[in-house]
């Protein structure tokens, strides 16, 4: 078992004909992911890495039976790409695109919550179930099959940690990058819930950062519901306050979202706190 994706996932790529789309879908195929096709309006009928390109997601789903869509189109087009995937009935949408306007994401969020699709991201590195499937940017070599679930707001920090874990012999069930944007489709809490339910996952690593209150929510969930041990790292202890959103965001969230506040909450919830992501393996022992 694993969460979100596995060797039976059939992945389509929205934006497969672009430079990044071509490169990363190639990496995914190399990893063994079942990439079944791509979608680029106006390029239907072309082929990339031996996979057919379609003009519409609907057409691609009908022809290939895709059940995961990876979105890698520029920011201005990303919202529509997500709507198209939702309307085509794709159950899992993983949007890697960064720079999507917040207004677009608020509109998407409302539509998404009333659909049966799950969105991971945007502005995230994707999902990796080591040895089975990779959807996103995570470098092919970092993961290793195992029983630690990894969830992170950050992209490169995830690679860093996962590589350190693999090197130390701690394999992963699934690694999920939820993205660091203000509005994201799937939160820490939802992923923790999936790991708690997942038979393969025995321990969980959570990587957060300053800003927002998602880590505080995660701490509350860990305290109330998690039976599996959690190791956490929070980035930004050295960041001066107010460099991110500050102001109105902080008001709404009823706190400042500092690293220390988050670390305290997670520690109080029973999580082990790492000071350095490369020492996370030591805390998994």
């Amino acid at each position: 078992m694993s969460i979100l994706i596995d060797s039976s996932s059939r992945v389509l790529v929205q934006g497969m004909t672009g430079r990044e789309g071509k490169f990363h879908s190639g990496q995914m195929i190399e990893y063994g992911t079942a990439v079944v096709g791509g979608v680029t309006p106006g390029k239907g009928g072309e082929w990339v890495h031996g996979k057919p390109i379609f003009d519409t997601v609907k057409g691609c789903v009908e022809a290939t039976g895709a059940n995961v869509s990876m979105i890698l189109v520029p920011g201005p087009f990303a919202a529509d790409a997500i709507y198209e995937a939702i309307d085509a009935g794709i159950p899992l949408i993983i949007c890697l695109t960064e720079g999507i306007p917040i207004r677009d994401m608020m509109n998407v969020y409302e539509y998404l919550k009333n659909s049966s699709s799950r969105l991971i991201g945007p502005n995230c590195p994707g999902v990796l179930t080591p040895g089975q499937a990779k959807v996103g940017f995570m470098p092919n070599y970092v993961g290793k099959p195992g029983n630690v679930g990894v969830v992170s707001k950050s992209g490169t920090l995830t690679y860093e940690t996962v590589a350190a874990m693999s090197a130390a012999g701690y394999g992963q069930s699934t690694c999920v990058g939820i993205g660091g944007d203000p509005i994201i489709g799937t939160t820490f809490v939802e992923v923790l819930e999936m790991f708690e339910e997942d038979a393969q996952t025995e321990k969980v690593v959570l990587m957060g950062e300053i800003g927002g209150r998602a880590e505080i929510d995660a701490a509350e969930f860990i305290k109330a519901r998690m039976t599996k041990p959690v190791v956490a790292f929070i980035a930004g202890r050295s960041a001066p306050e107010g460099t991110r959103m500050g102001h109105a965001g902080a008001i709404v969230e009823g706190g400042q979202g500092t690293a220390q506040e988050k670390i305290d909450a997670l520690r109080a919830a029973g999580a082990r706190i790492a000071e350095n992501p490369e020492t996370i393996p030591d805390l998994l022992g």
């Binding site: 207004r103 409302e110 590195p125 950050s154 660091g180 950062e209 929510d217 709404v252 350095n276």
Partner: protein, 385 residues
Amino acid sequence: MNLHEYQTKRRFAQYGIPVASGQTATTPEEARIIAGEIGVPVVVKAQVLVGGRGKAGGVKLAKSPEEAYAIAGKILGMDIKGHTVGIVLIDPASSINSEIYLGITNDRTTGKPVMMASSEGGVEIEEVARVNPSAIIREWISPSLGLREYQARNIASGINLPREHWAAFTKIARNLYRCYVESDAVLAEINPLVITGENELFALDGKMVIDDNALYRQPELAAQRDTSAEPLVETQARDAGLTYVKLNGQIGCMVNGAGLAMTTMDMIKLYGGGDIFPANFLDIGGGAQADRVAAALRIILSDPDVKAVLFNIFGGITRGDEVARGILQALKEVPTDKPMVIRLAGTNSEEGRAIIDDANIPNITAASTLTDGAKKAIAAARGEA
């Protein structure tokens, strides 16, 4: 991107929100003429993209055109928290009966815009939130429906606004919401929204922050960016597509990804022994290509406090070979003998390391891990390398 008060109020006026009929001046003489035209008393207000100008003496009442001239002369050129005042706004002074706070921002938790109001206007809303949180009334807005009239009534009722003002308030609230949406704002606030002695409502001060990711479709707002007061490197960083924040340490950092960039800073602080700190936050973003890396290096090296540079690149969408080429390109344009520690991992990192090795640059040291890189950079900054 922040708008100045005067820019915000002009935008508000376009959306039918009543504002003071003030004008901007860049010289004392202009201030004198404007004060004569709109009638005294006037308020002379420094236009800076930073809070706390009132306490800094950037807002003053003038009872005559001559006084406006004198005050403008003092405020123009003033330094407020590192920002130089280049523009003052001359607003007519008003009789104020009461002050309200009214603002909209996006709420991460619900994924919706939230309108906030408080009968305690004129002070910082964060302060109200801290001292008297129940004084803030919130109304979450469905993006598909927009702000409805009953929501404005819920707010008016919640802040105990006298019912005679509900119609005017509702109109202002709905116009503010429209302005927020159509401007792609992440914050639009009127603080204070005043009720005058003549029982009229208008926006005395306003603030808007525009979503940088949406500026491509807001050309009118994008053109209003005022870079004259901000440090040159911030302008350069933005133009190059980088996120750069200057700090007060000795190790210049170039990292891909905000989380890893912060973590790299954290490691420098962690292992820096209390005397070595990061000199900056710098995220070169995803998929950074050679020219962006070069621009980043140029910015880092422009900081005279930087004693060593740490590159920490874990490729994913960013590719190690491109970063390596970027470093070499930048070093050609900005030769430096400062020690540099380069750690490349992830996608195409072997190719990248080979490119760096082949260039055979004496002041470059390779590092294998994040911790290794941080420790080597700290040693280099101490002159121990």
